[in-house]
């Protein structure tokens, strides 16, 4: 079985202070100083990809390729995936191109890698990306490839050659199904699916695996959606959702509880 994972490395937006949320005429927020992190949904997709080889349903001979689009800050993340025994690692350097709000460009890169370099049975990626929140990449990738697609994947395990047992959140419930290749899987809220940490031994043994570095010029099919997107960003404005924020002051937490109850809650709470 061959699994292709698309993942993004994103800035930790929670470290930005109020005054950092500004943008100039280029409609970019400076997040260069924010520490990079896995995009949470992609991280879950990477972990689920590894689970295909976990007992008791462990499938042998699984080949994995991790693909990312981003600058040099992605390299340590690729090294972690090398140590976790991903077989192929590809970083596509975007240069000056702005891919933030162009899910089609990312999908076209995945399509090209799938058709010419890796030929996966399944493509896994997160359903959402933190900056654009486009939530479109798995669906657009599936449409470009003419493959079926499942989104909101919560869990998966091997179910034989080229088949996976996939659990998905759906409207009103959760489904479990056997899925045959090929298929694009968009991973959503997958509980307990933080990426495992490689052992020191594996870091030494596998961590220096070569990364294939490519540029956007290797993917000419991205030129059109980047130059003439279906959906073009026009403006960015700060969202403020603030309330009174009255800070309750008292010498001890117990007294704060007392004041909170008497002044603010007692009249609001229904009799039990």
């Amino acid at each position: 079985m061959r699994l292709l994972n698309l993942f993004f490395v994103v800035p930790d937006l929670e470290v930005l202070s109020e005054r950092d949320w500004t943008c100039g005429p280029d409609l970019k927020v400076n997040t260069a100083f924010a520490p990079p992190d896995w995009n949470g949904f992609d991280e879950s997709a990477l972990e689920l990809s590894l689970r295909v080889s976990d007992p008791p349903e462990a499938l042998s001979g699984v080949q994995r390729c991790a693909l990312t689009v981003g600058g040099p800050s992605c390299e340590p993340f690729l090294k972690t995936l090398a140590a976790l025994q991903f077989d192929e690692l590809i970083r596509v350097e975007p240069g000056d191109a702005d891919l933030r709000f162009c899910p089609e460009a990312a999908a076209r890169i995945v399509k090209a890698v799938a058709e010419t370099k890796f030929r996966p049975d399944f493509i896994l990626t997160g359903t959402r990306e933190q900056i654009s929140e486009s939530a479109c990449v798995p669906q657009v990738t599936a449409e470009l490839l003419g493959w079926p697609c499942l989104t909101q994947v919560m869990d998966l395990h091997a179910a034989g050659r080229n088949r996976l047992r996939v659990v998905c959140a759906e409207d009103g419930g959760v489904s479990a199904r056997i899925v045959s290749a090929p298929c694009v899987l968009g991973v959503g809220n997958a509980p307990g699916a933080y990426l495992r940490v490689p052992t020191l031994k594996d870091k030494i043994k596998y961590g220096k695996k070569a990364v294939t570095r490519m540029t956007l010029s290797d993917f000419p099919e991205t030129e059109k959606p980047l130059a003439d997107p279906d959906v073009r960003l026009r403006s960015l404005t700060r969202i403020r959702k603030e309330r009174a924020g009255v800070i309750l002051d008292a010498p001890s937490p117990e007294e704060k509880a007392e004041i909170l109850w008497e002044r603010y809650l007692e009249g609001r709470v229904r009799r039990g």
């Binding site: 929140e133 479109c136 079926p148 959906v231 073009r232 603030e242 009255v246 309750l248 509880a257 809650l265």
Partner: protein, 321 residues
Amino acid sequence: MNGMLVLNAWSADFQKQGRMLKGFLSERTRGLKITGAVLFCGERPDRAELLRRVPAPAAVLISLPDPPSAETVVRELAAVWRENPAEVLLFPGNHFGTEAAARLGRRCGGAALLSAESLDCESDPATAAKEVYGGHMKAEFELRKTPRCLSVSRSCPEEETENGRPAELLAVRAARENGENDFLTDLEWTAETGGKSLENAPFLLVAGRGAGGREGIALLESAARKFGAELGVSRPVAMSAWVPMNRLIGVSGAMAKPDLCLAVGVSGAPALYAGIEKSKYIVSINSDPHAPIHRKADVAVVDDWRRVLPGLCEKFVKRSL
């Protein structure tokens, strides 16, 4: 600009889909005239009831023997759109809508935007806004191709649908799977139970990463029981599997609108806050004085929740005796 609504009557949240779309049409759109709707439904639906819930003047029913997969939905919608090329297709903000809108936009050569907060069809080209950067920024986008396929944000206002005139039934199309779902074998279906109680709870206690672990969550569960509140959690808590995923609050979980919300050990990240912003009253308890949740609450307690909650519990218990 003319538009068409798309709803899935197979789903238990059908009425909510209608309310979502009607609220969006009433309060968040300009220059859009809805001319019809497409409803996916079973083979013997209560047609009068369905048509009463659709906020559109006319509707086409697409009947199927089983709940439709995204593959079937997109194939059928593409056929309907080619016969009747509406400029805008509006989907509810549930899983059905977000999946179908993105795929239909691509398949029909249009523009797709998910979780739209507003739509302006009077501007040229039409524009739509949505939250980006983890909910910290609002982006306005030009929708430059037709059909414009949008799913509405789950945080948009809802409006009752049953008071309007029922939609006129234009046609009933019987659809069948056509091999597009051969890649799937169904094994099991588990109906959801928790999310609905969170969305309708009058009193909510929301636990964040500051709960500290399973032991902290157990204490907060116990406190919620004493308060008569429902327990909801942030994504890091649900992802750590300290509670089932159906307790998740926020953009990828339940969107609650309680009378009272106690946010405990919550940072105030926009993704979580979206799920509680419709609360009538919010109290934050967090020992970090710089936690953004304090600015987003009506009253803020900067302290250790483990020392604040016991006193509060005592007051609640005394009151209910």
